[in-house]
């Protein structure tokens, strides 16, 4: 059975200094589906995620979320439905992991009391919960950022290189968290250079010359 389309990009184009990085790009993200995108450096993967998350307006084409174009939705409506993990952790470095999650959850009107539960879920030891994020290692920051995504009520996750800085148990945990999310009907789009992570996804695409191609077809 085919699940419903949650996020759709149609004829998407994005130009920088007169050159199109993304051109006539089409993408459908279905509920409960895990899509992985790879591509060369500078191919436009991060730009694509920023456009899909409503953080950047496309030069051409449009993105719809549950049938409504992103431009017609209020910014906080998009933020409530789409969770994004970027290169920066999206955390306040001078707050502790627990304070960050409590604040962000409060701002979302979400699970204020679940901060400790989320931090435990992403494998951060209780001794680090009250530590400032500034003192976290790269991998710990990535885990805390993942906790932010897991704690959101979004039905679309956009993850930009989520395995960066994670050790092997961390990568396995990331896979488990994504699998748990897709089982709940959350649609996950992950940009990665990690072959192992790519192979775990339901659908593998490659961004090349501004367009998405299925990886299998290329092989």
């Amino acid at each position: 059975m085919t699940s419903a389309v949650v996020l759709r990009a149609s004829a998407l184009g994005w130009a920088a200094q007169g050159r199109f990085i993304l051109l006539d790009l089409d993408l459908e993200m279905r509920a409960g589906q895990w899509t992985a995108i790879s591509g060369a450096n500078g191919a436009g993967k991060t730009t694509l995620l920023q456009i899909l998350s409503g953080r950047r307006a496309p030069t051409r084409g449009h993105v719809t979320l549950h049938g409504a174009t992103l431009s017609s939705l209020a910014v906080h409506e998009i933020g409530g439905r789409i969770a994004m993990l970027e290169h920066q952790p999206g955390l306040y470095l001078d707050l502790s992991g627990r304070e960050n999650l409590t604040l962000l959850n409060a701002l979302c009107g979400g699970q204020i009391d679940a901060a400790e539960e989320l931090l435990a879920q992403v494998g951060l030891p209780p001794t680090s919960w009250e530590q400032r994020v500034r003192l976290y290692s790269r991998g710990m920051r990535q885990r805390a950022a993942m906790a932010r995504v897991v704690g959101s009520s979004a039905d679309v996750w956009l993850l930009d290189e989520p395995a960066t800085g994670l050790d092997q148990p961390g990568r396995e945990l990331l896979t488990t968290l994504i699998r748990q999310a897709t089982a709940k009907g959350i649609s996950v789009l992950m940009v990665t250079h990690d072959i192992e992570m790519m192979h775990k996804a339901d659908r593998r695409l490659c961004l090349e010359q501004g367009q998405l191609q299925p990886v299998q077809e290329r092989v």
């Binding site: 950047r56 307006a57 910014v75 906080h76 933020g79 994004m84 952790p89 707050l95 304070e99 604040l103």
Partner: protein, 224 residues
């Protein structure tokens, strides 16, 4: 959740972050004291001649010091990459904007509480009309905080923002600065003048205009 509650949540977070990082408050206060000292040495006078410098020294010190804290106003969001995230999780950009205005206002009030007595002490001056000066300072600080926050936000991602901020901010604040200096001058010299209320009205109108325009411009600028 209403804007007021979200603003409070963000302001409380900013106060926590500022209290922990410490350096910003210390550097800002030290800069303010240094400004007053430099001015007092630069305009080394005594008696009535010194009093003439009080309004200018006071308002220019406030203006310079506000630039120091404004440059770091959005630093917590820039460092952790939370600017877009917070705007997208709250009901629009207004709570973030007003929380930053309140934080800047708190900074400026702290600086003001330190430098007003210092300026009066170094220049051997007295305020004949304390209430009027307090009102002028209040209006001046509100205007500086609102316009300054807007400029700091617009320049947050800009290279050379350290240079660009004063270039944009100071001309915008010129009417407020002139009115503030005039009101303080009249209060220091003790001259009763109908111009006093005119200058205060000008400051009030300036604040009202920018309290409407600034959040709107900020919202427009932060939209994708």
């Amino acid at each position: 959740m209403n804007t007021l509650r979200l603003t409070w949540l963000l302001l409380r977070k900013d106060m926590q972050v500022t209290a922990r990082s410490k350096e910003l408050v210390g550097v800002t206060l030290m800069f303010a004291v240094l400004c007053v000292l430099v001015f007092s040495f630069g305009f080394l006078q005594s008696g009535a001649a010194a009093i003439r410098y009080v309004p200018g020294v006071l308002w220019v010190t406030l203006l310079f010091t506000s630039s120091v804290s404004l440059l770091r106003l959005f630093a917590p969001e820039e460092e952790g990459g939370t600017l877009a995230l917070v705007s997208m999780t709250t009901s629009g950009s207004a709570p973030l904007f007003w929380s930053k205005v309140c934080l800047q206002l708190l900074f400026s009030a702290l600086v003001c509480a330190l430098i007003v007595p210092l300026v009066l002490l170094f220049f051997d001056a007295r305020l004949s009309n304390v209430g009027t000066v307090v009102a002028a300072l209040g209006l001046g600080l509100i205007g500086q905080a609102v316009v300054g926050t807007l400029c700091a936000a617009l320049l947050a991602q800009v290279r050379l923002k350290e240079v660009m901020l004063p270039l944009i901010l100071y001309p915008m604040l010129a009417p407020l600065l002139i009115a503030g200096v005039k009101v303080t001058a009249l209060s220091v010299t003790g001259v009763e003048s109908p111009a006093l209320s005119n200058w205060l009205s000008l400051m009030m109108v300036f604040d009202l205009i920018f309290m409407v325009v600034s959040p709107w411009l900020y919202g427009r600028a932060t939209q994708p």
